[in-house]
């Protein structure tokens, strides 16, 4: 299980890449994807200092056979919704949804979809994922 420092390091590492991606916006699908994973590591770093959570994966409820009842992504969003301000949940949800769409923009089941990342998001919208959503999460969690 990664430590607080490990999550923080990875978040900052991702954010450095994100600043390069935002600089020319030639890979908007990766802008939103890296923005989401940056946010995820900031969130996990914050979870680490909460004794009731520590890490999303280790706090997922299990059934009688010890199997997870929820996927880590879904459970992480439940933790955010139940323990953090709504704007943090909303920004994280937005990034997660768009990062999933970024995958569909490449291909799904071997079939090309009808548009690509460069046309699906405008330059301004791609930047907003960082300037609005990621920064909302960082600010609220005290990482700015």
């Amino acid at each position: 299980m990664p430590s607080y420092q490990a999550h923080l390091y990875q978040a900052q590492h991702n954010e450095q890449l994100l600043s390069e991606l935002v600089a020319n916006l030639s890979y908007k699908d990766w802008v939103v994807t890296v923005a989401f994973y940056t946010a995820m590591h900031y969130v996990e770093a914050h979870f680490f200092n909460d004794p009731n959570i520590i890490h999303s994966d280790t706090s997922i409820p299990i059934d009688n056979q010890g199997k997870w009842l929820h996927t880590p992504h879904v459970w992480r969003m439940e933790l955010l919704r139940n323990n953090y301000p709504q704007d943090v949940w909303k920004s994280f949800r937005s990034l997660y949804n768009e990062s999933r769409i970024a995958r569909y923009l490449l291909s799904q089941s071997g079939k090309a979809v009808t548009t690509d990342a460069q046309t699906h998001w405008t330059d301004a919208e791609a930047k907003d994922f960082v300037n609005i959503d990621l920064n909302t999460i960082k600010n609220s969690l005290g990482f700015c």
Partner: protein, 252 residues
């Protein structure tokens, strides 16, 4: 007698009794509150108020329930217009009549979802107004009943967003996953804000379930390209129907 057939039989009783209820405001309130829950959940209802979920109750039998509500003074404090009630009730009875003749008494599955489009006003009232139908007998609802109610709420909420073209649901682990197909091909922050606010409210309304939503713009050629093979269609704007039991393979 199956639950569905039994429900239809009781619907006849409810319709007859409505003539009596027509002259009393408390009667309108009783039916508006009672009938949707009765038929939606096969005797189950759920009561939500101010984010607090009260224990689900069972209403059975209907005759006793109706008598109970007519005799309860506090019902009079519910102010529901006569026109709203009668309009909704006519649609409701019509929908049941159609099913009755179509199926000739055969088992009608998932009736809770199928008649939703015809009872929109009633469901709006059910979901948004206080109900007094909760104070009868305590019985735990089944998991399927909780999920069915959540599905109905999700379909009801998102069908009001013009950009939503269809809604699918599938289960994975203990998660109930909804895929909301959108009409737009480009990202819209304002639309996402609206959808996420609906999601937030629905999550609060359904605390007994872990639900997840995915909003998919129209970036695909066929729905099978993006929908889980086992997903169930619960809303389709093309047919203007809230459905259940129809699978993705038959809808593309």
């Amino acid at each position: 007698m199956s639950d569905s057939v039994n429900s239809l039989a009781i619907a006849g009783h409810a319709y007859d009794t409505s003539h009596i209820a027509r002259d009393t405001r408390q009667g309108y309130a009783s039916f508006v509150n009672l009938l949707p829950m009765y038929f939606a959940g096969k005797y189950w209802c759920f009561y939500l108020s101010d984010d607090k979920v009260r224990e689900p109750r069972r209403i059975d039998p209907l005759k006793e329930s109706v008598s109970f509500f007519f005799a309860t003074p506090e019902i009079a404090s519910v102010h529901i217009g006569e026109d709203v009630f009668l309009s909704s009730f006519r649609k409701f009875v019509s929908s049941l009549a159609i099913k009755w003749y179509d199926f000739e008494g055969e088992i009608i599955t998932n009736s809770s979802v199928n008649y939703l489009p015809l009872t929109d006003n009633m469901f709006s009232i059910l979901f948004e107004r206080n109900s007094f139908a909760h104070s009868l007998i305590d019985i735990e609802p089944s998991r399927d009943e909780i999920i069915n109610l959540a599905m109905a709420r999700v379909a009801e909420a998102y069908s009001k967003v013009e950009d939503v073209s269809a809604i699918y649901v599938y289960r994975y682990l203990d998660d109930t996953n909804f895929v909301i197909l959108l009409e737009n091909t480009k990202y819209s922050r304002s639309l996402m804000d609206r959808l996420l606010q609906l999601e937030y409210d629905l999550l609060k309304q359904n605390p007994l379930l872990t639900m997840h939503f995915f909003y998919m713009p129209k970036l695909y050629e066929g729905r099978t390209d993006v929908i889980h093979p086992g997903a169930e269609l619960i809303y389709d704007r093309d047919t203007n129907a809230i459905l259940s039991g129809s699978f993705v393979s038959s809808t593309t």
